[in-house]
Assembly symmetry: C2
Homo-oligomer: 209 residues x 2
């Protein structure tokens, strides 16, 4: 993939005191680099350095090692995903309670489809460091599932009937959606987003009575 725009002139060095800026540039480069595809092994220090137009050694001023960089990317990504879901939720009129559930999950699918590399990275590294496997796993995923649970609770308050408790419904929909998205990633097919979204809608309708 000789796609890189060949950084003709050298990168301008950041002014004094602004060294932290490079940290953001590195994260942005990692973002760009493998939004396209690839799992964790596609995220290499040298690749990120190339994408950022800097020397590999320069990364080490901002990230102690590769795992620290990966951690930084993942944290940033969870922020993006949560924001996208919250925004989708708020963009639907308050009385369309089921529509808000769907909007959140659509945003989830869109993120996963648009950022396959990030999505895979996020879901394969969701152990909070130092946290042993407990009875309720999920790590950084928990706030996301909680948001879906809240959306289902709104449905119940509005009179919609669920076939199971709202938190179980949220897990069910979340897990099923992850399955669908993961299969899409493993073999992208035509009409991706539409088909994934159709599946998720059907899944959501299943948890309602």
């Amino acid at each position: 993939v000789p796609d890189e725009p060949e950084p003709a002139e050298r990168r301008a060095r950041n002014p004094r005191g602004q060294g932290e800026r490079l940290r953001t540039e590195i994260l942005a480069a990692a973002e760009r680099l493998f939004s396209e595809l690839g799992g964790e092994e596609a995220l290499t220090m040298r690749g990120v350095a190339r994408a950022a137009g800097i020397a590999p050694a320069s990364i080490y001023q901002h990230f102690a090692d590769k795992t620290a960089l990966v951690r930084g990317v993942i944290e940033h990504d969870y922020g993006r995903l949560s924001a996208a879901m919250r925004q989708a939720d708020e963009s639907v009129t308050a009385d369309d309670v089921v529509g808000r559930v769907k909007a959140q999950m659509h945003a989830y699918c869109t993120f996963a489809i648009d950022n396959p590399g990030h999505y895979r990275l996020m879901l394969s590294h969701r152990r909070t460091p130092g946290q042993e496997p407990g009875p309720r796993p999920g790590g950084p995923l928990l706030p996301i599932i909680d948001a879906v649970t809240a959306a289902f609770e709104r449905c119940e308050r509005a009179g919609e009937r669920l076939r199971m408790p709202s938190d179980r419904a949220a897990v069910m929909v979340f897990v099923g959606t992850h399955g669908r998205v993961a299969l899409y990633h493993a073999e992208p097919a035509g009409g991706a987003t539409d088909r994934v979204v159709a599946f998720v809608d059907e899944l959501i309708s299943l948890v309602f009575a």
Copy 2:
């Protein structure tokens, strides 16, 4: 992982005309090697050679290159999985139609949990070579989904009511199960099999009216 039993004496060479045996030994070694964990990048030619107690170069008499070896492993694995599901199906009395669906999916989960490396490999390499992405993706997964579809059709014939056509129900259950299993792989937790199986049972009950 200095776990290898240190093959004190050299491997006995296969007798003349039996060179093909090594092919099986190589596959078996790959099997053993990463049943434990790991994705594709954990499957290395040198690693397999070490596990088989042979020289890396020896693999090339039986597999043209790494992708051929991977293809061989995957083919073998799909055979194992199909057989396990068929056997589970047949081990349930014919009149317990729903029980037979569940038994098949339980076998699927057991395989996935016991062979994480293989499972991941299978699901991330399911494009039949030379087959462009068509309207019905799935590749080697299709026979498996078809078996589940057949089990759901038996349910309908026995008078059980589904909330959707049997083939959609099969896809729904399959996709959801994959989601659950994939999440387990990313963060194994206590009581693995039981919790996964409980989820799948709940999912199956959802597609019935």
